[in-house]
Symmetry: C2
Subunit: 300 residues, 2 copies
Amino acid sequence: MNILSKGAAWMGGQIIPIADAKIGVTDWGVTHSDIGYDVVGVWKGAFFRLDDYVDRFLASIKTMHMTIGMERADIIEALHNMVAASGMQSSYVAMVASRGRNPIPGSRDPRDCENHFYAWCVPYVHIVKRDVADQGTTVWIAKTMRRIPDTSVNPRVKNYHWGDFTSGLFEAKEKGFETTLLLDHSGNITEGPGFNVFAVFGDTVVTADRGVLHGITRRTALEMAQARGLNIETRALPLEEFWQADEVFLTSSGGGIFPVTQVDEHHFSNGAPGPVARQLRLDYFEWLERDEYRTPITYN
Amino acid sequence: MNILSKGAAWMGGQIIPIADAKIGVTDWGVTHSDIGYDVVGVWKGAFFRLDDYVDRFLASIKTMHMTIGMERADIIEALHNMVAASGMQSSYVAMVASRGRNPIPGSRDPRDCENHFYAWCVPYVHIVKRDVADQGTTVWIAKTMRRIPDTSVNPRVKNYHWGDFTSGLFEAKEKGFETTLLLDHSGNITEGPGFNVFAVFGDTVVTADRGVLHGITRRTALEMAQARGLNIETRALPLEEFWQADEVFLTSSGGGIFPVTQVDEHHFSNGAPGPVARQLRLDYFEWLERDEYRTPITYN
């Protein structure tokens, strides 16, 4: 039994069981949520679109003015060796840059901190269980909170500022819904905890462009939609328009495409996954295995 | 030499050196910044206004739907024993409730998580160095980011969502300013990283009421101002009005009252601490020693 098979981490050059992977309580990653991260999937023994995820991660680190002392190749090597050691064929792999500890007592200067990198992996996550996802899932639009605006925190740097999502999740779970999505302060659809949101109108798919993470699975969904001959639009999606959609679906690196059958009291596509979402969900599992997107792992 | 004298932590009933105090990388406290915390000062061997800080902390936990398995008396005992073991006569003491790990793989339900409490203490922090503070400090109003609105994250639950502050701090430090303050999306003064902001107009002191933490030191400042016969107003403070202030000062549990002599290119009170801020700064160090606010520590 490989002790790493339930989860492994890479910290300071060591590969360790995930239960042992911890960061200090005074690390700004904790005390200021001063972290940029990314999550890439491993599917049947290979990373999916690894370069795209690492590109975004490196862009996040740069935007946050962090220096982690590792180049692109070092990061990829760390991720590879960690997953290989775990033996996991399918995995959810996080790469994380934290501002780190400030060694100067009382200093509030972020430039003084000792930035650092770590990574961890667990068995592949489906943010909605596969059987639920196949039937279509339910989403509650948060009523008490709006998405943190991009004029406060940059949503294109994948970050751990999830207070608004967590408020929405409590509302959703109390109401018996699977997950939540948030509006912006102008009443447009934004995103949910770990996913982007799409609406289908005839042969056009629409997703938000501003105030949301530009997810790699969002990009994959747009590319798959184009490949299927659909029109794509990335723009503001007002709630009133959203209600008129033929179908709704979610996209996440934790499981791909999730058809939505109900939002609040409104049923979409007659309460069953719609044809576009169903097709793209199948396409995603096929694209996951395309050689052009795969970086195979050499297991020990 | 007491190994705890540079910093100690209380975790799971154990008192340990702060360098050993860590939380797991998959704890929602890290991955969702799902933490409510508070910070109380210890000054010359006693907690200051301990009940007020613990009251706010307990209110935060309740608002966040967390259950930490400790009553008020347990929390106070943990804080007391930790500081006593450290031997520190003056200390900055954090009490923290984290959502914790979700033991169900892939679960996004916050109700599944194992909430937990921890605490840590370090030597007393002055968020602006004492000699700088005595001369008056400089503040940069963040230009790229506005304070996370209270319609996204509740600012009265003291939290670690500091991305907006950190953006502002980078701006401030690059410009050579000591710290930063943020406006809300309507152009009102809110708060900065770890402090509230006050403006003085004649014999009236004004500070924001909405979109900010209701700091205990903010409360102390309001009480000290009243005791000095000043009028107090807690209300929206538009930037245009702020520029007309006679004096500006900051309040923080990390050092009390901080006179401000410059905000952006604007000099206040002729570039020296104003009389109200100077008086309240002195008053604060006197109030810190008042028996009615002190909870003495019994050192081992």
